[in-house]
Amino acid sequence: MPPDIEAIAEQVFVALADPTRRGILAALASGGPATATDLADRLPITRQAIAKHLNLLADAGLVTAEPGERRRVRYRLRSAPMQVAQQFLAVLARDWDGRLDALTDHLGR
């Protein structure tokens, strides 16, 4: 297994474990790129706290900063790390125990 795949997934899960960061990521996923001010208007968190979490998320590669209107920085969700994390969930969610039970039941009839 490539060594960095776990590091990428870990950053996603660490980000998602915090309710504030979960709220920021959810807002970017549902509403598209936004500035720290936009997010502070939509979430019950101070602008300073939002900025701190956005910096952390940008360092982890989960969001990217891009120039927005009136020279304000906008943040955009990066989907690639989420798709790596999704593979970790996929291996846990694949229910071969249940499927093989179903096969055995099917053949038993």
Binding site: M1, A9, Q86, A90, V91, A93, L100, L103, L107
Partner: protein, 144 residues
């Protein structure tokens, strides 16, 4: 210890390989114990199969190995990834006769793939492309 790239299970089934093979490789079999709303299958390497569920879910498989009645392998999409994602896992069933029954092993591998660079670039390019296309649309409407 890393996160698993593969899942492996073995079960002993009290039916001969020919019967297990039919359950794994026919529309009647797959559409009953696996997909609960039916299945289609074109049983040859390179052929496709599809299973559907009453929940509305659907799985599309590409058949890779058909060595009756010993080995049946297919690839399918990793659940939860976008439909155009190139990553797929490989599922292989191996049937061994044991007395009057069958030892059935299933191995699913490929969970720990990284998106390839070409794909990642294409994907990132796409999202940027979408934003700039919306910008182009605004320019077009402004000019009209």
């Amino acid at each position: 210890m890393g996160f698993p790239d593969r899942i492996e299970r073995t079960v002993e089934i009290a039916h001969p390989p020919a019967k297990v093979w039919a359950a794994l490789t026919t529309a009647g079999g797959l559409g009953t114990w696996f997909g609960d709303k039916g299945a289609t299958i074109d049983l040859r390497p390179g052929g496709t199969a599809q299973m559907t569920w009453t929940s509305g879910d659907q799985a599309d498989m590409r058949i890779e190995r058909v060595e009756e009645p010993r080995v049946f392998g297919f690839t399918w999409h990793i659940y939860g990834l976008p439909a155009d994602d190139s990553r797929r896992t490989y599922v292989e069933f191996t049937l061994e006769p044991v007395g009057a029954g069958t030892r059935l092993t299933v191995v699913e591998s490929g969970f720990a793939q990284l998106p390839d660079d070409a794909h990642r670039k294409a994907y990132d390019g796409n999202t940027e492309g979408w934003a700039s296309e919306l910008g182009d649309l605004v320019d077009y409407l402004n000019a009209a």
